[in-house]
């Protein structure tokens, strides 16, 4: 059957058609070269989705290859559905982060919901039970009605899916920045736990083996999502793109999880792949390519949701909650029994072949796996051509020219330059920062997410990294996401390094050792040399940071067309980290734990206010530099705190990041209900000391008798630790001393020395209500505006 023709392929294939599907003239020429002939309509559709940036990483592949991916215990990495790292006791953890930005902008509820569904499938496809979700969300102006609509829908979508499917949402981020006004970011990370022996890959080995499709039926939803939606920039509003957004069914996914994990643990299948972007085309070609085989697809056997679907629609549909598995013929009955017990449709849709091709037959396949007489082969493409040998674009990178050259990172300017701190009341600044949309409590969001189903959640959302126990062991997993878009906008290399440093630091300060990072790279249109330069710099920065911190990159995702008529988003390297705490009884958290404890600052405060929350609040001049990052120092700091926690010297530990030292300490106080009386030496500027965001610093508290040992230990790591004062009382008071401390108080006519002095009640109030106020929703018990939505609402 070599006649690759059919009435279903009667549409004439032209360059215009190719371009309408997102295939460029250059790409079209390569397709003809790979096939040795013109593609027919079905084949062109398959190429168009597989060669989209979303599926092929055609722009980013040459960059991503430079990342360090090896590390101790890494069992699966980039190229697999999720990274998998051993954690001992025969167990391993799988984790991955992925974007669902454009679908969420078009249809916030379903876009976000299917984002959760998709990343969960990546996890259980590896044989791991999903145990946690983290969602990193970015929006424009919180007071804008459209932003509020998006926030509401996306938060409901994340919750609607995760709550129903029974995976707790334990953490994430919510950031507002004007650059996201027309293009919000929805990055979702999922974590799974598996027994090492259950690790399975997306492959289709063994000639004659059965290829089965199970889960939901195939419909017209999400046709071309990967090529049209994910791999193109936005026009102002694109309602006609709504049909390219998939619709999620978390109940179906829950059944799929149980059925898939049962098949895997009972060794009923030899390979399994989820259907996400590009649907059956992607799952079949990746599975075949990975195993070095081909697949003969029986098109008629694919269960449809609706009649009259064209073959190309069936092949690239992104209908959700579907899986493609390979089993030996003698296990097929058992596989079918599992599906039937869980009430899941299943069909035998193909056979593994040795020719290396994805061949699609219309008209039926017989028992022996041969096309029936009278059937037609409507497509035949080498699996490799669709996946591992897909087109690669070497894009042009050009550093954007600036109107004025920004100073090099870390070079101090005149301390007072651009810092509107004359007459500043530090307490007022602190209150304003804590109540700002980006630093206030995220409670309004996370109270809409089930955070404790599965009975593993030790640290709930809201106070730094999430912590999950590993049942049956003394271990715990610590997870966080962080991305620094403000520094990335100034310097994408530094921004990516900072993101890695902050994310891993947030894990290390609990006492856990970061196992690996997964990344979601959200950038602009790579056909613009400036945007590609940003991505190139970010990957370089991420790689350098990971090498310095000795942490492998175990997977990730790129989202490269985040532009809209108002411009591109700030480059956003979202970093997800999972860490391992060997002994959960040693866990240290950010809140202070006891009055009378000593508060210490570890690490040096350096100048550079650009990109800080203070700068955003105070309108800092654009000429100030971002802070410097010394990766060796960062590595030393993280090693130090893990060592100190392991020795039992630390009562609480908190990272200094957004809002600087003052916000970090205020959070330790708000979360614990314990104030503090501190003295802070100011050499340069009070604003830098209190609100600067220079990295590689942390605030810890300890029993007073442990302070000398901690100072000594810090010195051994080449770090500077200074005692700031004592935990206690119902106020936060930070006296400023030293030569830099004078001025502001005098300006206000005060005769006392500068001091930040504010009641905990005031801090808590502003922190708790800031977000709800910005979004115009009631805070309180989660009673918000009344809106109806057709979602599963039970529990």
């Amino acid at each position: 059957m070599t006649d690759v023709k059919s009435t279903t392929n009667s549409v004439e294939v032209t360059l215009e058609l190719a371009e309408s599907l997102g295939v460029t003239a250059g790409g079209f020429a390569v397709i003809r070269e790979k096939l040795g002939r013109d593609p027919n309509h079905t084949e062109l559709a398959m190429f168009s989705v597989m060669w989209s940036e979303h599926c092929s990483y055609k722009s980013s592949k040459p960059l991503l290859k430079t990342l360090p991916t090896r590390g101790s215990g890494v069992m699966a990495g980039p190229g697999d559905n999720a990274g998998v790292v051993r954690i001992g006791d025969g167990l391993a953890v799988a984790f991955k982060i992925e974007s669902h930005n454009h679908p969420s902008a078009v249809e916030p509820y379903q876009g976000a919901a299917t984002g959760v569904g998709g990343i969960l499938r990546d996890i259980f496809t590896m044989g791991a039970r999903p145990i946690a979700v983290l969602d990193a969300l970015r929006f424009g102006d919180p007071t804008d009605p459209r932003t509020r609509h998006l926030v509401d829908g996306i938060v409901r979508g994340v919750g609607g899916y995760g709550n129903c499917v029974g995976v707790p949402t334990v953490g994430g981020e919510l950031v507002f920045d004007p650059s996201y006004q027309g293009n919000p970011l929805v990055n979702v990370m999922a974590i799974g736990l598996l027994e090492e022996k259950n690790l399975i890959f997306a492959e289709a080995p063994g000639e004659g083996n059965y290829v089965v499709l199970f889960g939901s039926t195939t419909g017209r939803d999400g046709i071309g999502g990967a090529s049209v939606l994910a791999s193109a920039t936005f026009a102002d509003s694109d309602p006609n793109k709504r049909p390219t957004v998939q619709v999620g069914d978390p109940f179906a996914e829950k059944l799929l999880i149980e059925a898939s994990l049962e098949m895997i643990s009972r060794r009923l299948v030899v390979g399994i792949q989820d259907l996400g972007a590009a649907g059956i085309t992607c799952a079949s070609s990746e599975s075949a390519d990975k195993a070095g085989t081909g697949i003969l697809v029986d098109l008629d056997a694919i269960p449809r949701r609706e009649p009259g679907m064209a073959p190309w629609e069936v092949m690239i549909s992104e209908s959700q909650e579907r899986m493609l598995a390979t089993c030996t013929p003698d296990q097929f009955a058992a596989v079918r029994e599992v599906c039937e017990r869980w009430g899941i449709p299943i069909a035998l849709v193909g056979r593994v072949t040795t020719d290396g091709d994805i061949a699609i037959v219309e008209g039926g396949v017989d028992e022996a796996g041969r096309p029936k007489p009278g059937s037609t082969e409507i497509a035949r493409i080498p699996a490799k051509a669709l996946t591992s040998e897909a087109i690669v674009h070497y894009r042009l990178a050009t550093q954007p020219t600036r109107r004025r050259q920004a100073p090099a990172p870390g070079i101090p300017l005149q301390a007072q330059d651009g810092l509107p701190e004359r007459g500043m009341d530090p307490a007022a600044v602190l209150v304003a920062l804590l109540g700002s949309p980006n630093l206030s409590s995220r409670r309004w969001v996370y109270e809409q997410y089930d955070a404790c189903v599965q009975s593993n959640t030790i640290e709930w959302p809201g106070h730094g990294a999430a912590v999950l126990r590993v049942k049956g062991t003394r271990k715990a997993l610590v997870a966080t996401t962080d991305g620094n878009q403000t520094l990335s906008a100034i310097d994408p290399f530094l921004g990516a390094q900072m993101s890695v440093a902050e994310a891993t630091r947030n894990v290390s300060i609990t006492g856990a050792r970061p196992l690996g990072i997964t990344n979601c790279l959200n950038y602009g249109n790579q056909e613009r040399p400036e945007a590609f330069w940003q991505l190139q710099e970010a990957v370089r920065g991420m790689g350098e940071a990971c090498r310095a911190l000795d942490i492998p990159v175990t997977g990730g995702n790129v989202s490269l067309y985040n532009e809209y008529p108002g411009g591109a988003i700030s480059p956003t390297p979202e970093i997800g980290v999972v860490g391992l705490l060997e002994d959960v009884s040693l866990l240290v958290r950010p809140p202070f734990t006891a009055a009378g404890d000593t508060v210490m600052l570890v690490g040096d405060t350096t100048p550079g206010m650009a990109g800080s929350a203070y700068a955003a609040l105070a309108g800092l001049s654009a000429e100030d530099a971002p802070p410097n990052l010394d990766l060796e120092r960062e590595a030393a700091l993280q090693s130090f705190i893990r060592e100190a926690i392991g020795r039992g010297l630390v009562a609480s530990a908190q990272d200094v990041s957004g809002g600087g030292l003052a916000v970090a300490i205020a959070e330790c106080s708000i979360w614990s209900g314990l104030g503090a009386s501190l003295r802070l030496g100011v050499s340069g500027s009070p604003a830098i000391e209190l609100f600067g965001e220079s990295p590689s610093r942390l605030v810890l508290s300890c029993r007073p008798r442990h302070a000398p040992a901690l100072e000594l230990l810090a010195r051994q790591f080449g770090l500077h630790a200074q005692a700031l004062g004592t935990v206690g009382g119902d106020r936060l008071r930070i006296e400023l001393t030293g030569q830099g401390a004078t001025g502001a108080a005098e300006e206000r006519g005060s005769r006392v020395a500068d001091a930040l002095d504010v009641s905990l009640a005031d801090l808590r109030h502003t922190w708790e209500h800031g977000l709800a106020r910005a979004l115009g929703v009631e805070s309180g018990s989660g009673h918000g505006p009344r809106q109806e939505t057709a979602t599963p609402a039970g529990a």
Binding site: K254, K471, G794
Partner: protein, 251 residues
């Protein structure tokens, strides 16, 4: 002795109930929705989740499942049945406990730790409680307990209100808009039992906070109550329900 936990398609907190029962030192058995056979268990938990997806209304389809036939017969024979969250919704839809669970007053899913207080300590489901507020999580979109005034009066009069949401000072959060009343439940009702006293439902999840490592083990008071009642019922030769009073309050 064994305690059964029903798994409907879409149950997701069945693992939490199975875990808590095991932590309580009792064998936990998973009961599949397609069989009315309860395998001789001494008590049944209907767990949280989204049985059959709950797309129509929480619990409305689960009540027709084969296992609910077995559960109804078990309850009629005097066996103890505890419905948690979605399990409470299923019991209410089945008419095994009075009242209905409406959408939260906020019309949003609510996930947080709340304080509930047992109204009485002589029921099979509260006998091991201390009487102090119990801190347990909620995670539901339809948890607003509702019934007409006459029914509510009758429930209060007959001691069928088992738990109420309470404020930090321990008093019931009777105002539906009180932040301590997380879903607007009438008269702050978090859990009720049937007239015979052997079937109870509550919206919060005691089984998810039954171990100190998860924040508090206060929820274990309620799991232990069920274990004690089941054991006593077995020891007495599975007698019919007696109006929900336990003879000797075991603390």
């Amino acid at each position: 002795m064994r305690i059964g936990v029903v798994t409907f398609p879409g149950s997701n907190s069945d693992v939490d109930s199975l875990n808590a029962v095991s932590v309580a030192g009792v064998e936990a058995v998973s009961l599949w929705h397609e069989s009315p056979d309860l395998q001789g268990v001494s008590a049944v938990i209907l767990p949280g989740g989204f049985a059959y997806g709950d797309y129509l209304r929480a619990g409305v389809i689960a009540r027709f499942s084969p296992v609910m036939r077995g559960v109804s017969e078990f309850a009629a024979a005097g066996g103890h049945v505890l419905g948690i969250c979605n399990g409470f919704q299923v019991l209410a839809e089945s008419g095994l406990v009075p009242g209905a669970l409406l959408r939260n007053r906020s019309l949003r899913f609510a996930s947080k730790i709340v304080a509930i207080k047992p109204e009485r300590l002589d029921s099979p489901f509260t006998r091991a409680a201390t009487g102090d507020p119990i801190h347990v999580p909620i995670a539901h979109g339809e948890g607003c307990y509702s019934a007409d005034d006459a029914t509510l009066d009758q429930l209060e009069r007959d001691g069928q209100v088992l738990f109420r949401y309470v404020r930090p000072d321990g008093t019931p959060a009777l105002d539906p808009d009180d932040p301590s009343n997380p879903n607007g439940s009438l008269r702050a009702i978090a859990g009720v039992c049937n007239a015979a006293g052997n079937v109870a439902g509550l919206m919060p999840h005691p089984e998810r906070m039954a171990e100190a490592i998860l924040g508090t083990d206060e929820g274990m008071q309620l799991i232990r109550s069920l274990v004690l009642s089941a054991a006593e019922w077995e020891a007495a030769g599975r007698p019919p329900a007696r109006g929900g009073r336990v003879a000797e309050v075991a603390k």
